[in-house]
Each structure stands twice: as structure tokens, then as C-alpha cells.
């Protein structure tokens, strides 16, 4: 066994191992993101339903948990209709472009500071990111800048009036809000003095305000000025950039049928759908990384009890799922839900046991950073759904006014103030 492992290690130590590791990481991230996307649709439907005093999907699987799978199958088996008179190449290329770009932007998102604590894989460190370039933030904006084409070309190639209007609206909207989006993060770049996402997170570690608050960019004076205004501008512009409610005018169903994807059916529509949800994840991750300290915990490092927070959340949650499952109305649910709950509870219990058992302690320490990052990302995803359940759609002229007359000037003022503070603080 050890001989086999050492043989594998030597085989993987070169460039081949490096490329293999990269491909494995990409495949793993793709699978995880696709699953998260699927359950994000379930989560969104459930949350919006409960906000409107409905119960949401609950027929397919216990609590509707198999609804995403049913939806996916439906997309695959529906007739793949191609309207007459479309520009075939562009029509087929647009959803592909939208999905590729939104997935590509995930490649530079870092999910944790430390490499996986496994000694194998030929000495290559398995970090929790696919790429960590010095200009990660710029690459993200480059990908966002190209993202307009997916929507605009889909609208144009469909050869139909509503998609064309939707495409025109979306390109105007995305170009307008990209300015505010880019301007609002300049303050963060000034404070961290880098474009690298990992370094931006590192710059927010530790405490501020006499140790009371975490040194997150959104509240911290460290290195500059609190970026609360920058964050608000960024988040509003990002919602517009991802074409979500209340900025979903490109697909305003009361005016444009379904906007740019009216003529798309079956899996081509699903590709736009997945692209939208992936962008939501990217934007939530960016909010977390740029303004809310990334993987830094909100509690001081000296509070060891805070390290067991994942366990303290998971264990009762698992027990609650078991309790809820045992009194579920279908037999299938009474079988499956307790098993899921037991799995969650066992993970929680193992993490809690880390207080006494050394290897489990190591595992618990390792998941701290990813836990906080994912928890914050989840909060912003919930916020997305929350706004969708709360706010009505803007009118088109209101949208343009907000973008050009409110967000852009405010974010420019934010840049000027932050730059002035940074300049005053810098010792010549």
C-alpha cells in the first residue's frame, strides 16, 4: 500500500500531475456548483413561497427536495425547438457563451487560505482555488465585461421583436451598471493595495476598533475608510448586472413575454438559467471577499468556542431534520429525511468531538475558513432571494436614473474620499 502511494506520488510529481490536479479541481468545482445551482432554485422557490404564505414545491421527494432533479430532466427531454429565420450560429452560440463566462469567473474565487492537509498528489499543494492570479479582480471584471454578449446576442439572433427589445435593454443596462460596479470596488483596491483576491482577504484579517469589531472593509478604518457606501453601490450594481429582481427588465414578463430568452426552449434555456444562478454565486462570493472579510471569522481568534460554531449549528440542525422526518406525511419521507438528518448530525458530532480528538481537531480547524466564507456567501444568496420576494420591478427610466445619476456619482465620491484618507495615512 505504501509502495503504491509512493509510486503514485513520483508519477504525479511533474507537470502531468499539475495539469491532472487542475482538471480534477475544475471538475470538482463544476459538480459542486451545478448541485448548488440546482438546490438554489429549490431554496429560492421555497423561501419566496413562504414569504407569500405558500408552501412551495413539496410533491417531488420529501419537502420537494427532488424538484431540481425533476426540473433538470424536464429540460433535457423537452423538444429542442429552433424558430424559423434565426441566425443559427449566433443563436446556438449565445447560451453557450453565457454559461461558459459565468462558470469561468468562478475559477479565480478562493475558497480557503490553506491547502488540503493531504500529503499525496506528488508534492503539489491542493489549494481551495483553481487559479490565484495577481489580477484576480481584474479578470473577474474582464469576464463580466464579456458577459453582456450572451444576453445581447441571444436577443438579436432570435429574430423576434420581444427578444430583440430584451437584448437591447440588457446591453444598455449592463453597460450602465458596469461603470458603477467597477468604480465601487476601487476603494477596496486602494485599501488593500492589490488586485489579488487572496491578498484582499488577508488585508482584512485581525481586529479593529480596540478589538471589538473584525477588520472587514465594510466597517474598518484600517488602511482607509469604511467601504459601507462602496458595498451598497457594489451590491445594487451587481444585482442589476446579474439581471435579477428588481432590475430584471431584460426579461420583464409583463412587457416582453420572457425577454431575451423567449425563443429558447429546452436545455438552451436551462443554460441561461444556470448562468444566471452561477453569476449570483459569484457576486455573493465577491461581496464576501471584497467587503465582508472573506474567510475571516467575525469572532476573535482567542475565542476557541467560536471554532465549534459549525458543529453547534450542524448538530441541532441534523437532529431537527430527524425529528421533522419522523413525522413526515409520506413513508418515503419518513425513511429518507432521518437518514439525511443523521448524516448532518454525525458530521456535527464529529466536529464537536474535535475538542478531544486530535485529527478531528485538525479537521475542525481546517474547515473554519471555508465555513465562514460559505456562510457569508449563503447570506448574500438569501439576500438575493429576499429582494426578489420583496421588491417590485423598476421602470426603465428609473433604472437608468439610478445607474447614472445615483450609483455612479456616489461611488466616485466614495473613491475620492477613500483615496484622500489613504493618502493622508501614507507616510511619505
Amino acid at each position: 500500500m505504501t509502495a503504491l502511494i509512493s509510486h503514485l506520488n513520483s508519477a504525479l510529481s511533474g507537470a502531468a500531475g499539475y495539469w491532472l490536479l487542475a482538471f480534477i479541481k475544475i471538475a470538482a468545482l463544476l459538480i459542486i456548483v451545478m448541485t448548488v445551482n440546482a438546490y438554489l432554485t429549490w431554496f429560492e422557490r421555497k423561501v419566496v413561497a413562504h414569504m407569500q404564505s405558500r408552501i412551495g414545491p413539496h410533491r417531488v421527494g420529501p419537502h420537494g427536495l427532488l424538484q431540481p432533479a425533476a426540473d433538470g430532466l424536464k429540460f433535457l427531454f423537452k423538444e429542442d425547438a429552433m424558430p424559423a429565420g434565426v441566425d443559427k450560429f449566433v443563436y446556438l452560440f449565445a447560451p453557450f457563451l453565457a454559461l461558459t463566462l459565468s462558470l469561468a469567473s468562478l475559477a479565480v474565487i478562493p475558497f480557503g487560505p490553506k491547502p488540503l492537509p493531504f500529503p499525496f498528489f506528488g508534492g503539489h499543494q491542493i489549494y481551495l482555488w483553481i487559479a490565484n492570479p495577481d489580477i484576480g479582480l481584474l479578470i473577474l471584471f474582464a469576464v463580466t465585461a464579456l458577459g453582456v454578449y450572451g444576453v445581447a446576442l441571444a436577443g438579436w439572433a432570435s429574430n423576434s421583436k420581444y427578444p430583440l427589445l430584451g437584448g437591447l435593454r440588457s446591453s444598455a443596462q449592463m453597460v450602465s451598471y458596469e461603470l458603477a460596479l467597477t468604480m465601487s470596488v476601487v476603494g477596496v483596491v486602494l485599501m488593500a493595495n492589490t488586485f489579488s483576491l487572496t491578498q484582499i482577504i488577508e488585508a482584512q484579517s485581525g481586529r479593529t476598533a480596540w478589538g471589538i469589531l473584525p477588520a472587514w472593509n465594510v466597517i474598518s478604518f484600517r488602511g482607509g475608510f469604511p467601504q459601507i457606501v462602496g458595498f451598497l453601490c457594489f451590491f445594487i450594481a451587481a444585482i442589476a448586472e446579474t439581471n435579477r429582481v428588481p432590475f430584471d427588465l431584460p426579461e420583464a414578463e409583463s412587457e416582453l413575454v420572457a425577454g431575451f430568452h423567449t425563443e429558447y426552449s429546452s436545455f438552451k434555456f436551462a443554460m441561461f438559467f444556470i448562468a444566471e444562478y452561477t453569476s449570483m454565486i459569484t457576486v455573493s462570493a465577491l461581496c464576501t471577499i471584497l467587503f465582508f472579510g472573506g474567510w475571516n471569522s467575525p469572532f476573535p481568534d482567542s475565542w476557541t468556542i467560536a471554532h465549534y460554531l459549525p458543529a453547534i449549528i450542524l448538530l441541532p440542525f441534523g437532529l431537527w431534520i430527524i425529528y421533522d422526518g419522523l413525522k413526515y406525511e409520506t413513508i418515503w419521507g419518513r425513511l429518507v429525511l432521518p437518514v439525511i438528518g443523521a448524516g448532518v448530525a454525525i458530521i456535527g458530532a464529529l466536529l464537536l468531538a474535535g475538542a478531544w480528538i486530535a485529527p478531528l481537531h485538525q479537521a475542525n480547524e481546517f474547515i473554519q475558513a471555508p465555513f465562514w466564507l460559505l456562510a457569508k456567501i449563503f447570506f448574500f444568496l438569501f439576500f438575493y432571494v429576499w429582494t426578489r420576494g420583496t421588491l417590485p420591478r423598476f421602470r426603465y427610466d428609473q433604472l437608468m436614473n439610478i445607474g447614472w445619476k445615483l450609483l455612479l456619482p456616489v461611488s466616485i465620491v466614495n473613491v475620492i474620499i477613500t483615496a484622500a484618507v489613504v493618502l493622508l495615512r501614507t507616510k511619505p
Binding site: V90, L138, F141, A142, A145, L153, W156, E178
Partner: protein, 167 residues
């Protein structure tokens, strides 16, 4: 053949094919798309040379902002297929020979002095964003500010023209 060389040839081929397709395509949108391919391939080439910042800016400004406006205008005007015309006299007797002469000149220079043209290895590899901005805001601050004013004037000019049309 090393990996960077293979990537170079792929990107170079993409850029050339995109440029040829830009001229040969009949529909304006297809031409615009070809131009985007050229821009993105160029950005890849910059990245290969270690100029990360320039590569990102190439995509953000040229691939994104400028080409989006092109596509937007084409979509807004709903431009149809272009009509083909023969070579004009100016193109036949002026442009074509000049283009050939320029290509010949470039090819000759490269084959003759190819070794002395700095490449990423000889020029000191990466150009970090911080060094680039230091250079821009200290040594070349006057040309930089002058360019900024030029762009500002261009923006104001565009606004004035748009306002005049409205009456």
C-alpha cells in the same frame, strides 16, 4: 514544442482567422463577433508575454466596452446584410500595394533583427500592475494627464453633438 509556444500558435491562429473573417463576413454582427475574437486572442497573447494588466484591460476596454457599443448600435439600427462592391481604384492601386509593402517590411525586420527584439525572458518577465502604475504616475505623468484630458474633451464633444441633434 513547449506549452507556451503551442498556446501562442493557437492564439495567433485565432487572431488571424478572426481578422480575415471580420473582412469576409457579410453580416455586421458576424463581423463584430469576429473582431471580439481578435481582441480576446490578443489579450491571450499579452498574457503569454507576462503583461497581465494590459491583457485584462484589453478585454475590459476593447473586448467589453467598445465592442458592446458596436454590437449595440448594430442591433439598434437592425442593420441587414452588406452589399458587396468591387475593389475601388484607390484600394486596388494604393491600399493593396501599401499593405503588402508593410507586411514585407515587418517580415524583413523580424527575420533580420528577430534575436535583438526583447521577449518576456530578456525584458525581465512579468510587469506587475504596481510597477506599471508607478511608471504611469511618476515618469509619464504629463503624457498620461494629457491623454486623460483628450478623452474628456472627446466625451464632451460627443455630448454636444448628441444634444445638438435633439434641437
Amino acid at each position: 514544442m513547449s506549452a507556451p509556444l503551442i498556446i501562442f500558435f493557437v492564439l495567433a491562429a485565432l487572431a488571424v482567422i478572426g481578422a480575415i473573417s471580420l473582412i469576409l463576413q457579410k453580416h455586421p454582427i458576424h463581423s463584430a463577433l469576429s473582431l471580439i475574437v481578435v481582441m480576446v486572442a490578443l489579450a491571450g497573447l499579452y498574457l503569454l508575454m507576462g503583461a497581465e494588466f494590459v491583457a485584462a484591460v484589453q478585454i475590459i476596454v476593447y473586448g467589453g466596452a467598445i465592442m458592446v457599443l458596436f454590437v449595440f448600435v448594430i442591433m439598434l439600427l437592425n442593420a441587414g446584410e452588406e452589399e458587396r462592391t468591387d475593389f475601388s481604384k484607390l484600394a486596388k492601386f494604393g491600399g493593396l500595394p501599401l499593405a503588402l509593402a508593410l507586411t514585407g517590411l515587418l517580415a524583413a525586420t523580424m527575420t533580420k533583427h528577430g534575436a535583438s527584439i526583447p521577449n518576456p525572458e530578456t525584458a525581465g518577465a512579468l510587469a506587475p500592475t504596481r510597477d506599471l502604475s508607478n511608471l504611469l504616475f511618476t515618469t509619464f505623468v504629463y503624457p498620461f494627464e494629457l491623454t486623460s484630458f483628450l478623452i474628456l474633451i472627446a466625451i464632451m464633444g460627443a455630448l454636444v453633438l448628441a444634444q445638438r441633434e435633439r434641437g
